[in-house]
């Protein structure tokens, strides 16, 4: 079976000349379907850079990125948009909800761009909000929600199109213990329902939810550790 994600000799350089920053220096990684992977590593080691490439939000300087066995370099802007919309759900550390817009409208957003009709959109967005336990907050705006609630709205938005892969960059980074547990509970359930989940974290107890932990040092993977619960 082709892996969900496969990257080979991935390099990403910001800037050029003397001031060039080599964020990724020939990184290899394979993530199987249905895997639950945690990426750890020191600050500035290149974790976010890697995840942005995996989420098709950024393009690598060189190297190959195969998504479901297909090289993403072959995709044009419209197809990349389609991938981000249907195949990948991305959860940001800083939530990235659209301000002055209700939780429901934020969750509906990917469905609008997917061309789903209004009535069905409502249904699915409400279901996603129910899944993250925020059904009664559907009509609140981001500035009326706590950090934990905003992150759960962001997760609802990431999963509403039913993507096969969910990527989360420090989803609990800005949250307290209780909110973190709620968020991790949702990610656990997504994994249990068969999705591939990749998350970045600095916390060991968050990483403990995953089947496998990789450690990034200076833009390369140096440690590949399988935890007790194997998928």
């Amino acid at each position: 079976m082709t892996p969900a994600i496969e990257v080979r000799d991935l390099r990403k350089t910001y800037g050029s000349g003397d001031t060039a920053v080599h964020a990724l220096r020939g990184l290899d990684l394979t993530v199987d379907r249905g895997e639950y992977l945690a990426i750890m590593g020191a600050s500035g080691s290149g974790k976010s850079t890697l995840l942005n490439v995996l989420g098709c939000l950024d393009v690598p300087t060189s190297g190959r990125y195969l998504l479901d066995g297909i090289d993403t370099a072959e995709f044009g802007e419209a197809q990349l948009g389609l991938l981000r919309n249907r195949k990948i759900g991305f959860v940001f550390q800083s939530f990235n909800l659209i301000p002055r817009t209700t939780a429901l409208a934020n969750v509906e957003l990917p469905l609008v761009y997917a061309g789903v009709r209004r009535a069905e959109r409502r249904l699915r967005a409400n279901a996603a909000l129910r899944l993250v336990g925020l059904a009664e907050r559907a009509h609140h705006r981001p500035n009326e929600l706590s950090g934990g609630q905003q992150q759960r709205v962001a997760i609802a938005r990431a999963l509403v199109t039913g993507p096969a892969i969910v990527l989360a960059d420090e989803p609990t980074g800005n949250l307290d213990t209780r909110s973190s547990q709620e968020v991790m509970g949702i990610l656990d359930r997504l994994h249990a329902s068969g999705r591939t989940v990749v998350l970045i974290t600095h916390e060991d107890d968050v990483a403990a939810h995953a089947n496998r932990v990789v450690r990034v040092v200076d833009g390369r993977i140096v440690e590949n550790r399988f935890t007790g619960v194997l998928a």
């Binding site: 942005n52 989420g55 939000l57 950024d58 393009v59 802007e77 419209a78 948009g81 389609l82 981000r84 919309n85 249907r86 991305f90 940001f92 990235n96 909800l97 659209i98 301000p99 002055r100 817009t101 957003l109 990917p110 609008v112 761009y113 997917a114 061309g115 938005r157 199109t161």
Partner: protein, 399 residues
């Protein structure tokens, strides 16, 4: 993605920051309204000039002296010239020829004084020739001219200034300290926009020359043709007689000028046209400034929302739907502002501005509206297009 969805996003975008949208709208409103209104004022001025000249009568020629060319001396227009023009044998197409001198003078009654901008000395035929009806009293007579009596017919403005609420006929006024008896009041001709046609007084030629102007050249000779059809013939006869009297040979440069009412109209309209062009230029500048304001706000709007653009792209928005959303926002703002501007201009045109009743030019409405819409579209699309081309992560990282 359907158009209605993009439209819904655009509506939400416009209503999300109401103050900013209102200010953008206001900028366009002012630009559009001032263009339409200023052009309407210019147009109003030229319309009223046309009306006032039309009020002169249809078969009138005006002869005025002209400066001589170098090397030849100019002869003044004289009363004898006027008499010669009225000769029924030499000039059968001429019904009458009134010599006119014109000056400005200060008229006073009791303790009120008023400066009359056109104090004319002429003969009784002048009233008929220039369509100047006498509303109260009567015009002076040929005998008054012959005797040099100090009588005067005053314009409506002079009458209301000197005799507020009283009947002027029979009263005495002091013109540059010389007493004149008011024998009549002219019917109002209204303002011609640039000058008040009622701020005038008419007295016998002999009296005015004797008391006020002296015996120099006439200011004008006003000739009435026997009918509208005789105007061309009258013009030819007048030219022949005056050329003979002033010794102007074939091909020589005349020291006088004959203008028909139509030619006068063209000359005066040209002046007000310049005025209109000037106003239009000022208006165009204000539209441009309004446009720059819109551009500025669109730039700020887009820059401020680059993160939002990043979020939309991250969840799968196409470049085209993002561009469409911002274009629609800009279009809605400029169309709304433009429509309000047109409404404001129509309301403003109901009022008299600087003594001129504005007359709206339909094409200026179209022009102002189209320009404002284009400004919004063009300057809205540029920053939005740039933002839509960014990679999602670049847009999301934007500060």
């Amino acid at each position: 993605m359907r158009f209605t969805e993009v439209l819904a996003f655009a509506v939400r975008g416009v209503t999300a920051n109401k103050l900013r949208s209102a200010l953008t709208t206001l900028g366009i409103l002012i630009g559009v309204a001032s263009v339409i209104l200023l052009i309407a004022v210019g147009n109003g001025a030229s319309v009223s000039v046309q009306q006032s000249i039309a009020g002169l009568g249809t078969n009138v020629l005006t002869i005025s002296p002209q400066r001589a060319q170098a090397g030849s001396s100019a002869r003044p227009l004289t009363v004898d010239d006027a008499t010669a023009l009225a000769d029924p044998v030499e000039a059968p197409a001429v019904k009458s020829a009134s010599p006119v001198v014109s000056t400005s003078a200060t008229a006073a009654h009791a303790d009120v004084s008023h400066s009359v901008s056109q104090f004319l000395g002429t003969d009784p035929a002048y009233f008929e020739t220039t369509n100047s009806a006498v509303a109260q009293g009567s015009p002076f007579s040929a005998d008054d001219v012959a005797q040099g009596r100090k009588v005067v017919v005053i314009g409506a403005t002079v009458a209301t200034e000197l005799f507020p609420g009283a009947a002027p006929v029979g009263q005495t006024i002091l013109v540059n300290n010389i007493p004149f008896t008011v024998v009549g009041v002219l019917a109002s001709k209204g303002s011609s926009g640039l000058q008040d046609a009622d701020d005038t007084a008419v007295a016998p030629l002999s009296t005015v020359r004797n008391a006020l102007t002296g015996y120099g050249s006439l200011s004008q000779i006003v000739v009435q043709a026997t009918g509208p059809d005789a105007l061309t013939a009258a013009q030819a006869q007048v030219t022949t007689i005056l050329d003979g009297r002033h010794g102007i040979g074939f091909g020589g440069t005349a020291d006088y000028r004959v203008l028909s009412q139509e030619q006068l109209l063209t000359a005066r309209t040209a002046t007000t046209d310049t005025f209109t062009v000037l106003l239009a230029a000022v208006a165009a500048i204000s539209l441009l400034v309004g446009g720059i304001g819109v551009t500025n706000i669109m730039l700020v709007t887009v820059t401020e929302r680059i993160r939002e653009i990043g979020i939309r792209k991250a969840v799968g928005a196409r470049r085209s739907s993002i561009l469409g959303q911002f274009l629609l926002e800009a279009t809605m703002l400029s169309l709304f502002g433009g429509a309000l501007g047109v409404a404001a201009a129509f309301i403003g045109a109901q009022f008299t501005i600087a003594g001129i009743t504005p007359v709206i030019v339909p094409s200026s409405v179209l022009l102002a509206f189209a320009v404002s819409a284009l400004i919004g579209l063009f300057f809205g699309s540029y920053p939005a297009g740039r933002a839509a081309r960014l990679r999602p992560i670049e847009a999301l990282r934007h500060e």
